[in-house]
């Protein structure tokens, strides 16, 4: 039993933990023993339990002023500072930024889908989209067979593909070296410019996997067409020589000695993606950027 004179040796923190209800186990037993046997510890324990009650009930000084906001203060607080001011118009609950962003993105998406859909469904671009994977796969086959491609033919084939974002140019390069791929590439190059007969002539010139697809196109070819004959010749040239009509289209500054000089203009009209796809992409990007800015504004401003 601890004597009162030994109180100085007792642990006040233990008693404080006990008074707060935080002591447990051996600590609780020790603290309880101290409170039970040491009058000083018992008094300290009693005071420590009384203090929180006193604190909670103690009166506080009266507030010196009214803290309501004046309209001027509220106006100043509502105005965002610095860069937040730029985002502020987008953050309002009634801001048109959200619907506008959604509309732009939807329009852009629709434009993209419509643009690529037109490429599939119509002759202007159907051959390009439909044949692109075909040519790529046949190009791989040709590469496996030992065929070698070069960059010039790649550009030539690319013009036919009309979709550089879909198939890498290396694949197109390989594709154009193989007879079947060259046929399809030339066909698509010509087809994208308009004359449909090219598909048929190319397909007939190079009986390959691409041919059935080309001949199976919804618009029937005209074998007797003059353009068809010419393009068929150019296809043959493109098959034998790397520089095709596509090169004349994409890299006119580069001389192509082996290219047939008789390559006509049709491929020059098919340069890059359609305006509808470009417009759709731009609208989609604008919608996405506006949407991101709107979210940022709502979170930060």
């Amino acid at each position: 039993m601890p004597a009162p004179s030994l109180h100085a040796a007792h642990d006040p923190l233990l008693l404080a933990a006990h008074a707060a209800g935080d002591a447990s186990g051996a600590e609780l037993e020790r603290a309880s023993a101290l409170v039970a046997t040491c009058p000083e510890c018992a008094r300290l324990h009693r005071d420590l339990r009384a203090l929180p009650l006193a604190l909670a009930s103690a009166p506080a000084p009266s507030r010196p002023r009214d803290f309501r906001l004046t309209p001027e203060q509220a106006g100043a607080l509502r105005r965002p500072a610095g860069w937040r001011r730029l985002l502020a118009p987008l953050s309002g609950a009634r801001s048109a930024a959200g619907p506008l962003a959604a509309s732009l993105a939807a329009l852009g998406l629709a434009g993209l889908l419509l643009g690529s859909g037109l490429n599939v469904g119509f002759p202007g671009g159907s051959a390009t989209s439909a044949l692109a994977p075909q040519a790529a796969s046949s190009g791989e086959t040709a590469a496996n067979g030992g065929a070698t491609g070069n960059f010039d033919t790649a550009t030539g084939a690319n013009s036919g593909a009309g979709g550089p974002a879909v198939v890498p140019s290396e694949q197109w390069a390989m594709a154009s070296t193989a007879p079947s791929a060259a046929a399809s590439a030339a066909a698509s190059a010509a087809a994208s410019s308009g004359p449909i007969a090219v598909v048929s002539s190319a397909a007939s010139a190079a009986p390959s996997a691409a041919a059935p697809m080309a001949t199976g196109a919804p618009i029937a070819p005209s074998p007797g067409d003059k353009t068809s004959t010419t393009t068929g010749g150019s296809t043959a040239d493109a098959t034998s020589a790397p520089a095709s009509s596509g090169e004349a289209n994409f890299a006119p500054a580069r001389p192509a000695p082996s290219a047939a000089p008789a390559v006509p203009a049709p491929s020059q009209a098919s340069s890059g993606p359609s305006p509808l796809v470009l417009l759709g992409f731009a609208l989609l990007m604008a919608g996405l950027v506006l949407g991101i800015l709107r979210i940022a504004a709502r979170r930060l401003v």
Binding site: A16, L44, L51, A54, P59, A60, P64, R65, P71
Partner: protein
């Protein structure tokens, strides 16, 4: 039928439940009122926000003045807290508006305290003025009022004399009713540190109140 014992038992069984339900209703109504005011303030109504200010400015000042031992600085901290609340109305994520405002005020008080460390001020220079007079009702007992006033003075003087960390933890725990975990999150320290600050702070308070503890001993239930 009406005087059957079962009916009496049923009535007796209902009676104790009525009072808590009323209390819960009152709390719910206050909570709903706060949320409505907050929503209106979010929509741009300054009157609605000032309604919240009117409701809670006394509470917040009483809280902050215990944490910041200078009345003017406490006043600035409360004003800054309301400014911050107005600026960040959108950051309210539900729950109790009172608790949300208290947290903002505590943060403002701690910021004010950090500022004060750089520019020390005389703690409680106005201890003797009339601002410490608690509002007295018509049926207030003058003796009790005087004792209460004296308790408030010595307690606040003792609070001002302990370390700011201990003071903040004690005020948040004993006055505002936050639990250890909430205080740890608000102050950015561990649970053990919070407990230690509260235990040591109470011991320090008791040391400083050694001559006046008789004023408080009657409060213990």
């Amino acid at each position: 039928m009406l005087d059957s014992p079962r009916l009496t038992i049923a009535i007796r069984g209902v009676e104790p439940v009525v009072e808590p339900v009323r209390q819960v209703d009152a709390v719910d109504q206050a909570h709903r009122r706060d949320l409505i005011l907050l929503e209106q303030a979010r929509d741009g109504s300054l009157d609605a926000f000032n309604g919240l200010v009117e409701l809670y400015q006394d509470h917040l000042f009483a809280l902050v003045v215990r944490m910041v031992p200078d009345r003017d600085q406490a006043s600035d901290a409360v004003q800054e807290a309301f400014f911050s609340a107005y600026r960040n109305l959108r950051s309210f994520r539900g729950g109790s508006v009172r608790s949300w405002l208290s947290r903002i005020a505590i943060n403002a008080a701690m910021d004010q305290q950090r500022l004060r460390k750089r520019r020390p001020a005389q703690p409680y220079p106005e201890l003797e003025d009339d601002s410490w007079q608690p509002p007295a009702g018509p049926d207030a007992d003058p003796e009790r009022t005087a004792i209460g006033l004296e308790r408030g003075r010595v307690l606040h003087a003792a609070l001002a004399a302990i370390t700011p960390d201990q003071r903040h933890a004690i005020v948040m725990f004993d006055v505002e009713g936050f639990d250890y975990q909430e205080i740890a999150e608000l102050t950015g320290v561990s649970l053990g540190t919070v407990k230690s600050r509260i235990h040591r702070g109470r011991l320090a308070l008791r040391d400083r109140l050694a001559g006046s503890m008789s004023l408080f001993r009657g409060d213990e239930g």
